[in-house]
Amino acid sequence: MRKLFLILFFVILLVYIIFFPHQLQKELVVNPSWVVETTAAEGGTDDHPVPFNFDSRFGYFSASGRVLFSDDVVYRAAVSSELFINYSSVSEQLVLQNPEGDIIGTIDSDGYPFFIGERLFVIAPDRMTVTEYDYEGFPLLHISPGAAVTSMDAGSEHLILGMLNGDVSLYTDSPDPVYTYYSTDSRYSVSYACALTDDGSRFAAVTGLYPQQLVCFEFRNDEYIPVFRMNMSEVYRRNLLLDYSDDGRLLYLETPGGLDVYSTATFLKQEIETAGEIRKAVFPGEKTMSFILSSLEDSSQLRLYRSDLGTIADLYFPSGDIYFYLAEGCFYVGIDGRILRYDIIEG
């Protein structure tokens, strides 16, 4: 009887081990793959050109390391994977060009073009209007929010604007907001940061001074409702980094020592310490590797994080004009006109 019990126990254990094995974390390895000088453009086309944009040079390269197009930045350049606008300091017409350099449209404006994701916006010099354009230069959406825009984010179909008067307005395809948060709890009403998930189901903002608050909203039962509010311990009078991970599961907020990362389900916080000033933070999602690029005194640091936000490795680069781009299975780092590809290998 006892023997039978033991046999049964081991059979059950074996079945459990086979069907419900313990997931061991895979080891992530980062391998340098190639390096190219962006000044030496070979020309040609590619199905998936990767954009790069330094302060003084921009263009496109292929995943195999061939520089397809490269040009000097006239004053500033707005660059996406499908088009670029290289504009002068006094331009009254913005010229839209594809990655081969062909002109595909124009926009009559003295504003400043930029991309959020692949969406093209132009903001007026006085920040009183924001206009979205299609890739031929036709206006899609023109918004005059009534106060100077201090912060902005966009998802696939939503757009969020933070204003100097403290209002934070959410838009879809109409110039009238679908929702506006009026910050009234502080002595001074100003919006310092705002962020939006790609599907528009969540947004967050940092507003007000004395107190300064982080407020988070979710779309539930056909309306946006506040789900989290916190008085900030450190007060900022400038824009600060606030963003969602690509999958919307994490919200990260700049702090004096690095970043606070919140779960959007529980709002439990995890603190990440960084060295130097953060230049870029990339959080694809809960299950993937994340990146923070910081400027140190005499170098730049790229810190790689596991999905549990533990540090994997630090990569150091000379200080200078730096660029970072995350792609499927790899990432690119650019330093002073030179681009390096690193492959991410799961071991």
């Binding site: 006085d126 005059s144 929010p145 009534g146 912060s151 100097l164 824009n239 700049e254 933070a281």
Partner: protein
């Protein structure tokens, strides 16, 4: 009626406030090159543009720095727009200084006095010639206020100009000359009006402060550039009647002074234009209106 009373009260408050609460100019020896209400690429100018030889920018009055932008850190608006600083003063008046390079210690500045230096002209303004964009916001009422109403007065001896006048009716445009003849009916009066600026060395087309149109002695149009508010996505100059940009600026240098139904006979028109220093220009024209 209520609106007129409100505007009267607002004007009285602003004029009274100016006596008690005159702001200092943010730069020494300012040269105004663009005025409030001017034509700014499809919208009204919400502030002044000021050129100065001395690059130091000071707050117009004591206040609290509530916002500044001084680098291209993440979270800063894309596009690398000229950096700016916003100070809130008493009575919820905010002053905005754009196109400047904020002082290195701006992050430590909280309360500021009129003698502090906020920064210098420059930053990464898109303009080829460095200038300060200066705006005054009444955050209590959500309005942009003409800064000239609150700043100490400066010398301006140049009178506004009325370069030309034209009439628009069903038949098209008619230029106004000594013997102008026009058919009766609805007619829009348009004029090319500008303020040439405050210096002989720097000619610029600026908006005047007040425009009036009289028909046979009766005022039929009045506009002054006192305050600006945004409503339903449109910028509105708040005068006796709120006026949309597109209803005023005609896109070819002309402004619309409204419509009138002309009846046969003689019609006498007078346009009066003044700037904030009360330099005034008038022009009278006579029309013969036929059936």
């Amino acid at each position: 009626m209520k609106k007129h009373t409100l505007l009267f009260v607002l004007s009285a408050v602003l004029l009274f406030a100016q006596q008690l609460y005159a702001f200092n100019w943010p730069v020494d020896d300012p040269l105004v090159v663009s005025t409030f209400g001017g034509d700014k690429w499809g919208s009204y100018a919400s502030g002044l543009e000021v050129y100065a030889e001395n690059a130091e920018i000071r707050p117009c009055d004591d206040g609290e720095v509530i916002f500044y932008e001084n680098s291209d850190r993440p979270g800063t608006l894309p596009g690398r727009i000229g950096h700016f600083v916003v100070v809130e003063h008493e009575r919820k008046l905010r002053t905005l200084y754009a196109g400047i390079e904020p002082a290195e210690d701006i992050s430590e500045m909280t309360g500021v006095t009129a003698s502090d230096i906020l920064g210098e002209l420059g930053g990464i303004s898109k303009s080829a010639r460095l200038h300060l964009h200066f705006a005054v916001i009444d955050s209590e009422f959500g309005q942009y206020v003409n800064p000239l109403l609150l700043l100490n007065s400066i010398v301006d001896n140049a009178s506004p100009e009325i370069r030309s006048i034209r009439l628009l009716n069903e038949a098209g445009f008619t230029s106004v000359d000594k013997n102008a003849v026009i058919k009766a009916g609805k007619t829009e009066i348009q004029a090319e009006i500008f303020d040439p600026g405050m210096s002989d060395d720097y000619f610029t087309l600026m908006a005047p402060y007040k425009i009036q149109l009289f028909h046979n002695g009766e005022e039929i149009f009045y506009l002054n550039f006192e305050s600006l508010r945004y409503d339903a996505g449109s910028a509105l100059i708040q005068s006796r009647e709120d006026m949309k940009y597109d209803d005023f600026y005609r896109g070819d240098g002309y402004v619309s002074l409204g419509e009138i139904s002309l009846v046969p006979g003689d019609s006498r028109f007078e346009i009066l234009v003044s700037d904030y220093s009360e330099n005034e220009t008038g022009r009278t024209f006579q029309l013969t209106v036929i059936e």
